[in-house]
Subunit: 209 residues, 2 copies
């Protein structure tokens, strides 16, 4: 499990090893569970070796966060691509918006630790276009959301004057539910109820935007 022994003085790709260890720790326990010393231990290396690749514990956590954001984008892409292409353009647009919401909430449900690592850590909106945070398809989760909203405008389902800032509202809604259920007061909500709340919420967004 803990990587093969290393005969050489050099490690090979320690940065990646530390990042993987960080991802594992974040998977169970979220960003706070990412501890630098433990990462070096799992990589079979002395604590300070980490400082050759990350200036800080913070930098390691940020790297983990970027990777986690990329995974989220991938999950959203999967939902996106599953939308039937035989729908009318208007229906496709609505379906894409719902797909973004489902992908986001689904990832939060299935990978709570990584989700929190992705979105609970410093990292500006400006960098929401950073390819490092994109999914396999090359688009960030934020970009996917924006695309869906643009489609809605294009098919006339969303008045253009309500387009500006719409991504904030839509994003807020799903993000809020995720956070309330993950580490907030809705923590102990029955999973089935949470699921229902999710689709209820996506309806609200679609109707209210």
């Amino acid at each position: 499990m803990t990587s093969a022994q290393r005969a050489n003085y050099r490690h090979g790709d320690l940065r990646k090893a530390l990042l993987d260890a960080g991802l594992d720790m974040a998977r169970e326990g979220g960003p706070d569970a990412v501890v630098l010393r433990e990462a070096t231990r799992r990589a079979g290396v002395s604590p300070n070796a980490a400082y050759r690749h990350f200036a800080d514990r913070t930098e390691l956590v940020e790297a983990v966060s970027d990777a986690a954001q990329s995974l989220v984008a991938g999950a959203i892409e999967a939902e996106w691509d599953a939308v039937s292409s035989r729908l009318s353009p208007a229906d496709v647009a609505h379906a894409h918006l719902a797909a973004v919401g489902r992908g986001y909430l689904g990832f939060a449900r299935d990978q709570p630790g990584l989700f929190r690592a992705a979105f609970t850590v410093p990292s500006d909106l400006e960098s929401a276009l950073d390819p490092a945070k994109a999914g396999p398809g090359g688009r960030t989760s934020f970009q996917l959301l924006a695309t869906a909203l643009d489609e809605l405008v294009a098919v006339g389902a969303l008045p253009p004057e309500r387009r500006p800032g719409a991504e904030f509202s839509a994003w807020s809604a799903v993000h809020g539910l995720a956070m309330l259920v993950l580490e907030g007061p809705l923590r102990n909500l029955d999973p089935e109820v949470a699921r229902a709340a999710g689709s209820r919420l996506i309806d609200m967004v679609d109707r209210g935007l």
Copy 2:
């Protein structure tokens, strides 16, 4: 600043002193900034004294969280009470819902650390009725939200069949925006833009519920 010297062996009300110190630390830095030893230091007491009043650091943080939730409820009540009583019942209901949203977002903006301490910490929904978390008026922020939604149903602005679970959707929306702006990817959003996003969001909720 750091409380008067204490001549006696006994402190007086150490529990309250620790809690106040904890609140101060949470105010700047959020729940993670609440450190037990520092709290005892500020209370002028040895580190272990804390364990006579809190089993854990966790218990201290939870106490801080409860107090912070109560403050949020107070902020919401203030907005609630400011709603003009000369409006029609329907308008009052809408205004109350908006007041809850504004109070919530306003508190998040003005007291980011306390806000995160309030809602980012374990604490079940079941205890959302706990009077310890209520504002001066005796109602929890969750109860205030529920009341506003009940009013909307009463005046016919919200179809009864959409009432169940509506608090989750409404809460999610405002909570999500708050978290994105406070410790998420919208951290560096221009304050004015954030404010606009807030009222835009509240509109969405009112329209989409």
